[in-house]
């Protein structure tokens, strides 16, 4: 057992370890998983001098309260997160996109994600975790990944190893902007839907339902009217697919989605908008905008360049 560890005093709502996710297992029913918001995941690693694909702690809504025991380390939090660091008698308000050092006995209280969903907690060391099928990412539905595939629990100890030498404070001037327009490409069953519904899909607002998690995001809004068949022969799904079941309320597949589905696919969210989509909290309003495949590919290139640019600003 290593001597550096966090004691989980409060686990938070859905706290897991995530990295880029695991490939090549769709055919047996295992999705990519991985960090929901990739940009914030990469930035969190860079802020503590890690390789960009190191596993970090992902939390949703309310994060964990952690007490640290061990040698001095650095940590960083990304997203739009309210947190404090408790040292002896003093309480320091923390800022996202800035690294802090902590020592034996200090506490980090990650209170909440502000009008967003996911945040990331990284350290300049390795969490002592077990790799499964090429990734540390936890899929709590199938109990796959590190921590026995389960979310982090109260009273758990999280051991850390191999503290790296990046001790200097790092900071990035970045505001995690929100978007309410989500761009999509036509789905493979776009023609299953009436002209009025297609018009509604791109003109009306939808509201993110409370029934949303790492598997999927349910939306409420104008009912989507199917004029062909409310079922299709079951076939593969990918993240971002918008399925419409018989009740007419769309569901967007997210990173831990079931790999096969039998509902028509009306549209697919473009990769460039995925990080922003997952940050829309229940009650948020959004609109869909239809674009073409080549535009989606170009927008992703731009988004990636922007991410790389942010990462390179962190020295």
């Amino acid at each position: 057992m290593s001597k550096n560890y966090f004691k989980v005093i409060r686990s938070g709502i859905n706290t897991t370890f995530q990295d880029e996710g695991r490939n090549n297992l769709y055919h047996i029913g295992i999705p990519f998983s991985g960090a929901m918001d990739n940009r914030n995941f990469y930035i969190s690693n860079k802020l503590v001098g890690n390789n960009l694909n190191m596993p970090v702690m992902e939390f949703a809504y309310q994060g964990p309260l952690l007490k640290y025991y061990g040698d001095k380390i650095n940590f960083a939090i990304t997203g739009d997160v309210k947190f404090v660091i408790k040292k002896n008698e003093s309480i320091i308000e923390g800022n996202c996109y800035e690294s802090y050092s902590i020592e034996d006995g200090d506490e980090i209280d990650i209170m909440s994600t502000n009008r967003s969903v996911y945040g990331y907690f990284s350290i300049n060391a390795k969490f002592d975790l077990k790799l499964q099928w090429g990734s540390y990412s936890i899929n709590t539905k199938a109990n796959i990944g590190s921590n026995n595939g389960r979310k982090i629990n109260n009273d758990q100890e999280i051991h850390i190893i191999e503290i790296n030498s990046h001790k200097t404070k790092k900071k990035l001037n970045y505001i995690n902007t929100k978007i309410d327009k989500i761009r999509v490409i036509e789905g493979t069953n776009f023609n299953y839907f009436s002209e009025t519904t297609k018009k509604n899909l791109f003109e009306n607002e939808f509201i993110v339902s409370k029934l949303s998690d790492r598997m999927g995001m349910r939306l409420e809004g104008p009912k989507i009217e199917n004029i062909v068949d409310t079922n299709i022969t079951s076939e593969g799904l990918i993240k971002g697919v918008i399925q419409v079941p018989a009740d007419g309320n769309p569901i967007i597949m997210l990173s831990d989605h079931g790999t096969i589905g039998g509902y028509p696919k009306i549209a697919v969210v473009i990769s460039a908008d995925y990080d922003k989509l997952v940050q829309l909290s229940p009650g948020s309003k959004m609109k869909f905008q239809k674009i073409e495949l080549t535009d989606a590919e170009n927008l992703f290139k731009l988004y990636e360049m922007e991410t790389q640019n942010l990462i390179s600003q962190i020295l």
């Binding site: 029913g29 199938a142 076939e235 593969g236 697919v241 096969i260 697919v268």
Partner: protein
Amino acid sequence: MIKNISNLGDTALYCDFGNQINKEINSSVIRYYKSLKELKIDGINNLTPSYNKLIISYDLKKTNFLKIKKKVEEITINQEENLSKKKIKIPVCCDENFSLDINRLEKKLKLNKEEILDNFFNKEYFCYMTGFIAGMPFLGDLDKNMRVKRLETPRVKVPKGSVGLTEQFANIYTFESPGGWNIIGNTPLKIFDNTKEQEPNLINPGDIIIFNRINLDQYNEQKLF
């Protein structure tokens, strides 16, 4: 060559092999899936074969739709070649605690329990695909007189190991999960073993499955391993 390739979003190829569900079309899907898996084309990061579709996912950081489409179109497959079919025996116990929907099956099929089980056991089923939840196999075909619709109200929790029937298919619940299939029995075998580093799932697309009837004592004995 796959005739009908379109895009699914900006990270996947949607290969359409038709609308029918039969072994011939599905075998064609599986042949493409298997050769793509072996070829390990740079940029492809997932393959999802199903009854009559193959979804090929790729990393948009490394490639794009047209590049991957071209590579996939260049592949030639010998459609005559037989798929190597592994035969797997699956023991199933139909004790009353396990065959949760036997009364419904009797009523809907107008057959008694023994007639249903006689028909179900000791014949070959083909694995069309695996997925939905990790390792769940979709097996077919059930005889025409054995086909029922799914439950009107799905169960919130179907026990792990349950063997279910719907339409022309049988499946096995690899985890406790919600589900609407008619449960005929339960297998003590681990169909999906997430402690295995290699091949965690016992059944793969293209495999042949034979269900063997076992009694409760045999079930309990086999469950230990």
